[in-house]
């Protein structure tokens, strides 16, 4: 078990003939992911490192039974790429692309209501179930298969940092995923926490948030009401000046809302073990999780 992806996940890559698409499709394949197809309109019949390319997601799914997609297409075309994957009724779409206009994502978000496809991202590192399936741009070797920790984060390299510290402490991971740094995204913290709660192999969770919006506050309240697995939380951006966009489009403190302090308070009040300093996250997890699992 794990959440959302496993060794049976069959992945197609939208934008596989681009430089990024080609590289990351190769990296995922090398890790052991079942990359079964690529999609680039007009390039059907080509192969990218033995992976067959199709003109459309629907066609690729018909011929290869792909059930998940990794999107690595430029921002102007990414929203449409998501909708194409949704219309082809894939189970999972992981959108790596950074820089999609917010208005496009609003339309996608509303257009996806009532559809069964799960979207992870955009502007995210992807998802990995160590040892089974990697759909994304994260470095595979830092992960440790077999659980018991689930990791969910709004960031990319910060997630790698967290995973690395867990691995160093001998704490393996069930599934690690980044939900993306954009203001409008697909899968949210609560979706992931809920899945981790349901997953018998996941015994503990690390949740990594950052300034902007109120997703961490909502997640903290949800954890208090619904989870019996221990959660360690970290928030980036205590020193971020208000009104400035800190790299991620969604990472901004505006009108006094979305501050790191408010998020940390919400976490503490809801029984989450707050990590005060990133350097000791692995040790804190070891301490908290060893008691409880």
């Amino acid at each position: 078990m794990a959440i959302f992806v496993n060794k049976d996940t069959r992945v197609l890559v939208q934008g596989i003939t681009g430089k990024e698409g080609r590289f990351h499709a190769g990296q995922c394949s090398e890790y052991g992911t079942n990359i079964v197809a690529g999609v680039t309109p007009g390039k059907a019949g080509q192969n990218v490192n033995t992976i067959p390319v199709f003109n459309s997601v629907a066609d690729a799914k018909r011929k290869t039974s792909a059930n998940a997609s990794m999107i690595v297409v430029p921002p102007p075309f990414a929203a449409e790429a998501i909708l194409e994957a949704v219309d082809a009724e894939l189970d999972l779409v992981v959108c790596i692309t950074e820089g999609i206009p917010v208005m496009d994502m609003l339309r996608v978000k509303i257009g996806m209501k009532g559809r069964h496809t799960r979207l992870i991202g955009p502007n995210c590192p992807g998802i990995i179930t160590p040892g089974e399936c990697k759909i994304g741009i994260m470095p595979g070797p830092i992960h440790m298969p077999g659980g018991p920790v689930g990791v969910v984060s709004r960031s990319g390299t910060l997630t790698y940092e967290v995973v690395h510290q867990l691995t160093k402490q001998g704490l393996g991971q069930t599934t690690c995923l980044g939900i993306g740094g954009d203001p409008i995204n697909g899968t949210d913290f609560i979706d992931c926490l809920s899945a981790f709660q349901e997953d018998p192999e996941t015994k503990a969770v690390v949740m990594v948030g950052e300034i902007g919006g109120s997703a961490e506050e909502e997640a903290a309240a949800w954890i208090a009401a619904n989870m019996n697995k221990p959660v360690v939380g970290f928030i980036a951006g205590l020193t971020a000046p208000p009104g400035r966009r800190m790299g991620h489009a969604g990472a901004i403190v505006s009108g006094g809302k979305g501050t790191a302090e408010a998020k940390l308070t919400a976490m503490r009040e809801n029984g989450i073990h707050v990590c005060e300093s990133l350097g000791s996250l692995g040790e804190l997890c070891k301490e908290v999780f060893t008691e409880r699992i």
Partner: protein, 383 residues
């Protein structure tokens, strides 16, 4: 991307949203000839991107042409300090001279992307001209909020909700409703993240006019709005931030003494926090991105070193796609090229980290190697 009031009003005018008659002026010599054709009163308004212009003395309503002349001369070229500019203030390079309007009623109106509801929210209040955050805090019942589904668009009942809620007189309702609809269309067409009119006024002649205009456009959408991109005014940006942006680096200048260079926005924020926790203050946010090249590292160094407050640098890289040995080569080359003299703490982790550390150690440069983040914090505290 924020645009100036006069630019937003130009977009309003093109969309059929009434704004006062006005002219921009960038040269003191032109003031008198521009004022000659105008009736009094005249509003003289500093055109800077920061908010709080009125309180800072950047907006004057002049009753006579003489007063207007004086105010315009004073404001054009002034160093305008507002709550958003910082203590140094911003030089006013453009002023807007506008025909005064006979105001009967002031309203507040804004539209913005609502990340929590994944839609557009319209916020309106009868208390125009006031700071909306104060209104929201003190008299929340006087604020009307309407959520609009961007796929369905603005509905008639939603417009009526605003009209009734703001107690708009029946003879003005049609004009008011028209403005709401036009503003919503403009919002959607230009990929706005925020449009704010404070105040939106009703005149004694029952006209509805946007006295002010603030627009913020989603930067991610600028590839499809070349007309708006052309409005970009980088003169108010921090010099170093503008230079960094031209190199594709995501840099925000802060007031501390420890510069940092990090790959990834989340890790960059966490690194700033770590610097602060070590007892020193971060001098910047700098995300060199996931695919940083040796050239980007060099540019990053130059930007950080251009800030005279910087006393030390912390490089924190988690190598994934960007391998540590490649990064280390970049750091060593850049440090040699620039003739780096400040202490640099390097913390690397991830792909090929051993090879990377060896390159740093063999370089002969005074780079301080941190084994992990805790160690890095100790080293930073000692700078």
């Amino acid at each position: 991307m924020k645009i100036h009031e006069y630019q937003a009003k130009e977009l309003f005018r093109k969309s059929g949203i009434p704004v006062p008659t006005g002219k921009t002026c960038t040269n003191e010599k032109d003031i008198s000839s521009l004022l000659a054709g105008m009736q009094t009163p005249v509003a003289v308004k500093a055109q800077i991107l920061a908010g709080g212009r009125g309180k800072g003395g950047g907006v004057v309503l002049a009753k006579t042409t003489g007063e207007a002349q004086k105010a315009a001369e004073k404001i054009l070229g002034m160093q305008l300090v507002t709550k958003q500019t910082g203590d140094e203030g911003t030089t006013v390079k453009t002023i807007l001279l506008e025909q005064g309007v006979d105001v009967a009623k002031e309203l507040y109106l804004s539209m913005l992307v609502d990340r929590d509801h994944a839609g557009i929210v319209i916020i309106a209040s009868r208390d125009g001209g006031m700071d909306i955050e104060t209104v929201a805090a003190e008299t929340p019942d006087r604020i009307i909020t309407v959520h609009v589904n961007p796929l369905l668009g603005l509905q008639g009942y939603q417009v009526r909700e605003l009209i009734y809620g703001l107690e708009i007189a029946p003879n003005v309702a049609k004009a008011f409703g028209g403005i709401i609809r036009k503003l919503f269309s403009l919002f959607m067409q230009t990929d706005c993240s925020l449009v704010e009119i404070n105040p939106l006024v009703i005149t004694n002649e029952d006209e509805v006019i946007a006295l002010d205009a603030k627009m913020d456009i989603d930067s991610n959408s600028l590839f499809r709005h070349s007309d708006i991109l052309a409005m970009h005014d980088s003169s108010e940006e921090d010099e170093l931030e503008a230079a960094a942006a031209s190199h594709g680096l995501n840099y925000i200048r802060l007031k501390g003494t420890i510069g940092s260079m990090v790959n990834g926005a989340g890790l960059a924020m966490a690194t700033m926090d770590l610097i602060k926790q070590a007892g020193v203050e971060p001098a910047n946010f700098l995300d060199v991105g996931g695919g940083a090249s040796a050239e980007m590292v060099e540019n990053g160094f130059r930007i950080i070193l251009s800030d005279p407050n910087v006393r030390g640098i912390f490089i924190n890289i988690f190598g994934g796609i960007l391998r540590c040995d490649i990064l280390a080569e970049g750091v060593v080359t850049a440090a040699r090229k620039i003739g780096l003299s400040l202490p640099v703490v390097v913390r690397m982790e991830g792909t090929n980290v051993e090879a990377g550390r060896k390159i740093l150690a063999d370089s002969g440069l005074t780079l301080i190697n941190a084994t992990d983040l805790k160690h890095a914090a100790e080293l930073l505290a000692a700078i």
